[in-house]
Structure formats: structure tokens, C-alpha cells
Amino acid sequence: MDNTLASSVPLAPFAGLIAAGLDRADLPHILRALPFGVAVLDRERRTLFMNSVLERLTGYTSEEVAGVPCRHVLRGSFCLHACPRVACAKSEIPVCEAESREGTLINRHRRKVPVRLTSVPVLDKGGDLLCTLDVIEDLTALKELEARLTRTAGPGAIVGRCSAMEHLLRILPAVAASDATVLLTGESGTGKDLLAEALHRASPRARESFVRVNATPMPEALLDVELFGQAGGSGESNAPRPGKFQLAQNGTLYLSEIADMPLAQQGRLLRLLDEKAVVPAGGERPMRLNVRVVAATGRDPEALVKAGLLREDLFHRLNAVRLHLPPVRERGEDVQFLLTHFLGIYATKFRKQVLGFSAEALSLLSAYDYPGNVRELRNMVEYAAMVCAGDLVLPDHLPPHVRFPQAAPPADDPAANSSAARVKHARKKV
């Protein structure tokens, strides 16, 4: 039974509607059955009725707030400055059309909820405003989805349309779902770190930790503790210290440059991968570990093995699945796609109306060989979007080494050699 109106003023909120010819005794039942929040407001936007969805959303019952101005019930971000009634009054239109706006409300439980409000005026037979129906949709799920999509399509996402990238993105979910060790290869700036994170996010371990390890040069004993932890001693100062592997328990451990790891630690890593256990420094008892290892290198792993910088047995163990990220210069048609992709992101970020690149700017950018790969391309577009004041990125908005390929420094300047080579390469392509 609907008892929403069983208050001191039974059915009174609908008296006006009945008088106006909208004689529907079942109106509360109809409104209560709707899957979104509905509030019936009088001409002064005082609350007459709320359906059960809106009661749950706001935390108030219809009885508690009957007669209360809706701004104190909905507490919407649109209530104070963009209230439909105020906007309508300002426009000097006696009765406004239905309109929607997005915002947030703060409910009785002090929770901020993203919502969309659609205010629908209900008119009597004479065309005068009788009441207003405020339809409130809870956008929490949509906003969460949007945030998730932004995370996977923002500047930190892996995108690409060339065949190599399409293949990579196609097999990524299957690789992520498996628990196999993965070796990522690719030049600096191609996105190895992003790919490692994407693998983790798409894996069943996504809710657990993603721990990144940089095996930077440090004394071996210290690195041992850093990676594999330290067993506790007898005194208080000798408390056990977890290593990166322990921190990554049940999650993913990412070794960002495997060849930087000394051979002794490579041996321990190999044992860990085989035995799924590690003995912390200074300890005797092995500790069971459930960690997925993703390793990366910016160099050719076969060459590293030949040079004695990477243990061959570890290489074969890590090489269970190998994913290669091609450099930008080999991604051909992707350059324009990446330029447009990042321009869209940074134009939005900087609130600029930048629509694209001028033909000259695009020609310069397409001819450039991007030795810093996607990272360099992204930074270049960020800079261009930042300095661009119009709707097209012009050559003036590009860094000088892209803009003036002919102004290469003298070849005997060793510091500029790499830049000169880049420019030469770029000019050849033009």
C-alpha cells in the first residue's frame, strides 16, 4: 500500500492537480513505480511529493519534507544559481519548457551524488503552471563508467591503428588473463610502462598491487633487501622488512629494465620464478610468493644475452610471452592518428578550441622521426596545444628543432649531433 501521503495532509498535495482536471488518484502509484527519482513541486517549488527512488536518493521521506523548498531537499548544485525557476524568471517567459541539467546533490547521509535533473512544467487547462515534475536520475554508475573509460582513453592509454599496434591490442586481453611471465621490448618512449600497467589492469590481479622496480645501480646487498626483503632479527631495530616482491604479493611486479639488474639478483629472480618462493636477506625459511612478473628492456634481449648482461636461462624464462612495441617511425599511419588523439586530449585539458593542425605544421610533424617516440610526440602536442591561441596548430607552435630543420647546428658540435641527425633524417623524408 502506498502510504507516502498518509500524513497530516492526506492527498492534499494533489488537490491542485485534481482541481485542474488531472483527476488521477493513482498518480502516486504511477510515480512510485518509475525507475528514476521524481519530485512533484508546487508553483513556488515547494515539495509536494517524492517517489520512493528519490526518497532513497535524498534520504528523506515525502512526509518529512512536504512543503519544504526543493533546494533544501535536493540540495543540488543547480539549485542556487541555475534553478530552473530562477532561469525561467530571468528569461521572462511565464512558463518554461522542460530542460535538463547535470550536477550533484548532497543527501541526508552527507554523500555527494552526481545527478541529472529534468524539470518538466505541468500546465492546467488554461495553460498556467500547475506544478513541476522534477525528474532526477542518479548518474553514479555512468560517472564511474566514464571515469573508467577516461582512464583507458586518456593520455595514459595505449592507442594505435597501425597493424602492429592493432595486433598488440587484440592479444592484450588474452595475455593479461593468463598468468604467464611477459617480456616487453621496445625503444625508450614507446610505452612499455603503460603496457605493463595495462596488462595488470586487465588481469585477474587488477585489484591487487602493481609494484614497479627500477634495478638502479646500488650495492648488491642493498638491492637484495630492496627486492627480496629482510628477515626479522631479535631486536626491535631488526624488524622484518618486506621487499618489492613481498609488496607485490598476489599482484604484478614490473621490472622496468631487466638488464640493469646484476647477474646475482637475476639468478635469485630465476629461482623465485621456478620455485614461487623467496628467502629474505638474512633469513633461512623460504617465503611463498604469488607474484606475476612482467619485465621490460629497451635493448635487444638477444644482444644482451650475448653481451653477458642478461642470463640466458632467465631470458628464456621471461620470454614466455614477448610483446614488442614498435618505435613511432615504424608506425607510419599512426603518426597522424596519435597527433590528433593527443591534440584532442590536451585541447580539452587546457580548455582550448584547437581543432587540428595546419597543412604546414602537419607536414613538419609527419616528416619528423621522433627519436623519443610516443613520449616525445605527446610532449610536442602538449606544448603546441598550450601555446596555440587559434583553432589550428601552426608551425610557430612547434618546437624549433621541428620547425627549422635547416637550422641544424654544425656537425662538429658533438652535443648537437643527435639532433642534427634527426633533422637530416626528417628533411630526407620531406
Binding site: S7, A12, V68, H72, L80, R110
Partner: protein, 116 residues
């Protein structure tokens, strides 16, 4: 001992939302709850964080406001403020009720069910 009470304002009402209030009423009362000073402040812009800073800066002891997020509520409670939130009504009514010791969080002071 004097005590400062801050009421967030929207026109003559308690502001429905703490984070959107751009005006506040700051009232100082003595040990007998008699008003000794009254100030209305217009803020540069509405911001819950800035309002929290103002409240702490002015050594406010009691906050009377409308809906506020849990984060700010707990922050001010942690700073030992007496926070009366979720108040719907005229600012003067809310203040008078507080001084009489009759105001509680979530109180709706507007007349109810008198229309139709």
C-alpha cells in the same frame, strides 16, 4: 566566555549546501548566549575548503549549515567544532533555536504540509 557561531547563508535562509555558500553570518555570543557582535561576510567564491579555512581562522566554535559532505563534516568535528548540518530553515530561526538549545543536525524548520 564568548563563542563564535557561523551560519552559512542563502538569502535569509541557511544555505542548503555548505560547499555552495557564498555568504556567512558570524555571530559572537557571551557566556549567557547574548549576542555581542554580528557580521555578515561575503566570500570571494563558494568553496568548502576555503570556508573550512575561514572557520578555523576565525576560531568559530559552532557551524550551522545545510547539506555538507562527510569529509568536511568530519574534518570540522575533528577540529572540535560543534557542527549542526542538514538544517533547512531561515537563518535567524536556526540561530535562535540554537541559542535556546533546541537545534539539532537535520532539523527542518520550514512549515510543513500547509500548502496544497
Amino acid at each position: 566566555m564568548a563563542k563564535k557561531i557561523l551560519v552559512t547563508l542563502y538569502r535569509n535562509e541557511v544555505a542548503p549546501r555548505f560547499d555552495l555558500a557564498s555568504e556567512v553570518l558570524l555571530v559572537t555570543v557571551d557566556a549567557d548566549n547574548r549576542e555581542v557582535r554580528r557580521q555578515e561576510l561575503v566570500l570571494a567564491h563558494a568553496s568548502a575548503d576555503d570556508l573550512c579555512d575561514l572557520i578555523l581562522d576565525r576560531e568559530v566554535a559552532v557551524l550551522i549549515t545545510g547539506g555538507m559532505e562527510e569529509e568536511h563534516y568530519h574534518y570540522l568535528r575533528w577540529k572540535r567544532l560543534d557542527v549542526l548540518d542538514g538544517i533547512a530553515g531561515l537563518a535567524e530561526d536556526a540561530l535562535a533555536r540554537y541559542l535556546r538549545g533546541e537545534l539539532e543536525s537535520g532539523d527542518i524548520l520550514f512549515p510543513r504540509g500547509e500548502h496544497a
